[in-house]
Symmetry: D2
Subunit: 208 residues, 4 copies
């Protein structure tokens, strides 16, 4: 077998993943994937469309898509009242796993960590709604867990446009304390070669 | 104000709770409260009936009932296929909080810990289906969290009758390593005085 | 007994704590309290001095100080090499509890959550080293856990001064999504009355 | 490359690991590895000696040894007073990773989960002191996490000999609800072939 070249995304402040893409271990985490976060961020439709395209590319290369909705238990409120509907997953790959969390950190009080582990996922592309809210909290938490993360900047929607620059800078501080950041095009470019060696679309790509 | 006497259950190997009953902090945890565990334990109907009676007594005294169902994520299985239906909660108090866990330990990968904390519950009466399975795992986990626990022996159903004695002994080892154990009658006796100062049922007791 | 007035700090975007100060439940969390974070933030000495003063005030009013150091387990590195020395606690109150975490989130992979719970602490004043790093991650995590948090802006040191404004804004977004923020003077002013009913300093205040 | 035969231990109620031994993912978890548990179990010296032998065999085959000590935070007690000294690790392989937990469940409030993940360990041989205490709690918790576990019965010491049979039976109930069980000899037999293709001991085996 001929050794494959190491595939990495041209992210900042370092190329991601540090040890090269391993598709069976690749996951796309769509954070803030619920009606609450869609209602508070700016321009959710455009970002959702980008996430949908990214999801198709990740699945085509052999990765797994996981979406996270967030319900919040508050003092005096019943858990039933805390349930926030997930965004429709119609446009996501049919193999998408939808999990819920009871925190802004998508790993908190839910089955996300277990889902990643039982599926063998440790390379995470992170995107979604609520850049400075759930996306950032979940990215921080994923990084603490030793998962190798890249944040796709233009596949994230922010609640406050003024917080975008600072949010992205903080990911990169200290040499990438919470992972790496990259634009959508650069990610798609790296994922594409693996799935389109010829102009003929693969079976995976042609599913509705 | 006249100081109230400290109310404790005559449990083994020590009276529970160690600092006396404080109803706003009291919770009844009904573990294994799902169709899977109802299908594998012996005599679930009788134990469910006892749990229902205990739940009414706990609520009447000002406590909170929390039921836990367990879904299990397994390699190669989709999360959707892991969902196990909860037992019907029709007969439980309407204020019952139903949570789910993705482990045999009811605290694992779910919102149980957060639910107890946001409701201020730290005194736990533990009962349910699967004595040596979810009941024991959840009791152990509750104890590690510093929650004050008593296991109601005859309000638990076991999958294997031969494991009952050992399971109860292990709770009590080393002076109550995982909490205390007690029979249902002794618990009801301690809860009762607080709610029935007169033969007239309270509003809470008269709800359907 | 005469009802005490509700004591609250004049924080933004809401007064903290929402239900008034309850000193036995009050904790001061000193995050990033280790040599690594002291080495990367700007002006650690001044901020440490402010934290020391705040700690004395919190203890004088009946609260508890908890410091958190962060070690990071990395691929290929031994845990022993991950240990980062805590800052000296000589100047902190002798009752200070020092805990460690294996993440940037002080609650991750350590005993912080358990320490707060067993000490009955659910009102948190948050300060320390690494505003956009461990301080922010820990504040986010505390908020998910339902703990009532206020961040003391000028008792935090940042690694990058350019990130301060955004970090503070993000705490307050959506009406205080991660808690409230306030300056040190405003906190000390609210803590003080409870401990100095007379001009005579209490024994606690006069300890070195 | 010639396909290697799948290596499995002849455990009950199913052969372990279900997908065959993969040494880089293999870990030996020595639970209850502290002075408290050594003081309450029966015959600790003999079991420690067996664990030491097992540890050498695991490392020789390319696996990793992790020991867990347990400190317990209790109401009113200071964390400092909760520290329980680990057992000496002199006789264990020098690459042994020693972690601590603040619970009877070795995964609780400590860095065990992170340690296993960052070392890529998901096949666990479990042994140690306190069969019905920390060993059982940790085994249950490992199983919830989706780790593939086998308990080595005669490399565990119990606090109460009467609880041994029930403890082992409960692991195997429902077709192996908490993993599989096996005797030490059967484990050593499976580990051995991989490391002794010839009568000449490897360098690793000859270390003191």
């Amino acid at each position: 077998m001929v050794a494959e070249p190491v595939r990495q995304v041209a992210s900042e402040p370092y190329p991601w993943p540090y040890d090269g893409l391993r598709p069976p271990s690749l996951g796309l985490l769509l954070v803030g994937w619920d009606r609450h976060w869609a209602s508070v961020v700016e321009d959710p439709d455009e970002v959702v469309a980008r996430c949908v395209g990214l999801a198709a590319a990740v699945v085509a290369v052999g990765g797994q898509v996981v979406s996270v909705s967030h319900q919040r238990l508050r003092r005096g409120a019943s858990p039933a009242s805390a349930v926030v509907p997930s965004l429709p997953v119609d446009r996501l790959p049919p193999t998408t796993i939808a999990v819920s969390s009871s925190g802004i950190d998508g790993f908190f009080a839910g089955e996300l960590d277990l889902t990643l582990r039982t599926n063998g996922i440790d390379q995470l592309i992170v995107a979604g709604l609520g850049l400075e809210g759930p996306v950032h909290s979940t990215l921080r938490s994923a990084n603490d867990r030793g998962l190798e993360c890249v944040l796709v900047t233009d596949a994230c929607a922010a609640a406050d446009a003024d917080l975008v620059a600072g949010s992205l800078s903080s990911v990169c501080m200290s040499g990438g304390i919470f992972g790496a950041v990259v634009g959508l095009d650069a990610v798609l470019k790296v994922l594409a070669p693996a799935v389109s060696p010829s102009p003929v679309p693969s079976t995976q790509e042609s599913r509705p």
